[in-house]
């Protein structure tokens, strides 16, 4: 297998995730797009780990999975709080700090 096929797949997934983060207005959809981005990073890490035949790639992929779990927990709590205060999770309406 060529290393580049994994790297290009990860790059395409990353760009799809970036599109989702920028284009969606629903807070939960933005969090899902962030998950796609983190997964593409994980594919990169594991591919390079297999390429170098070194265990560090897998270890850091596991760390990324753990951090992603923490991020989703906090993110959903914040979205829940925004919903409770404003009755909406449209991120374009959450502009209190805009000045």
């Amino acid at each position: 297998m060529i290393l580049n096929q994994f790297l290009l797949l990860a790059a395409v997934l990353f760009c799809i995730g970036v599109y989702g983060v920028l284009a969606r207005r629903n807070g939960i959809m933005v969090l899902m797009s962030v998950e796609i981005i983190l997964n593409s990073v994980n594919i990169n890490l594991v591919a390079f780990g297999a390429f170098r035949d070194h265990v560090a790639g897998e270890v850091f992929a596991l760390f990324v999975i753990a951090v992603a779990a923490a991020e989703v927990g906090i993110g959903l709590a914040i979205v829940l709080l925004i919903y409770r205060n404003r009755r909406s999770i449209d991120l374009t309406e959450a502009d209190l700090l805009k000045g």
Partner: protein, 179 residues
């Protein structure tokens, strides 16, 4: 030599991984289509279900790369826990609102432009750097090697992650509880 023998010899020398490449292509196609559907569908629950396909495809890619432990963790943590968390979030926020097309049209155009530009830049950089680099997987990574590395070389990072998870747990409870 029979075709099967040629294939086996090629696979043994690391030049040809026909089955792996075919499966890679199929899984990659499924992942990309589901990711695109996930970020463009109007129904949030459907988006979560498309996300399951993306995550399962990633787990399959990890197995192709010989990293069973990461694949199993991916299935347990992502598909088992995070998707359920998302579904609960959707349920609690009644997030059935669709995106407003009239407002979001320009935003979508700009986001698509940024994504395509990013894909072109990264694609050129990757093709330029790694066009002929091959991955040769002789044997899968062993669980023991992974756990040895986590509990010796990366023990500080491991402890930091455990503290981070605890902090995130407490933080989520404090943020989301009712007064």
């Amino acid at each position: 030599m029979t075709p099967a023998g040629v294939l086996a010899a090629g696979a043994a020398s690391g030049d040809l991984f026909v089955a792996q490449n075919v499966f890679f292509g199929v899984i990659a196609l499924v992942m990309i289509v589901s990711a695109i559907r996930c970020v463009t569908t109007r129904n949030v629950v459907h988006a979560a279900l498309w996300l399951v396909l993306v995550l399962a495809g990633a787990a399959a890619q990890f197995i192709l790369l010989g990293s069973e432990f990461v694949a199993v963790t991916q299935v347990l943590v992502y598909i088992g826990a995070i998707i359920v968390l998302f579904l609960f979030g959707i349920m609690l926020t009644k997030a059935s609102m669709g995106d407003d097309d009239s407002v979001a049209g320009e935003k979508r155009l700009m986001a698509g432009l940024v994504a395509v530009l990013l894909a072109v830049v990264m694609g050129i950089a990757l093709v330029d750097s790694y066009s002929d680099t091959r991955v040769v997987i002789d044997e899968p990574q062993r669980f023991a090697a992974v756990s040895d590395a986590i509990f010796s070389q990366y023990i500080v990072a491991f402890e930091a992650v455990s503290v981070l998870l605890l902090a995130a747990l407490i933080g989520a409870i404090v943020v989301a509880r009712k007064e």
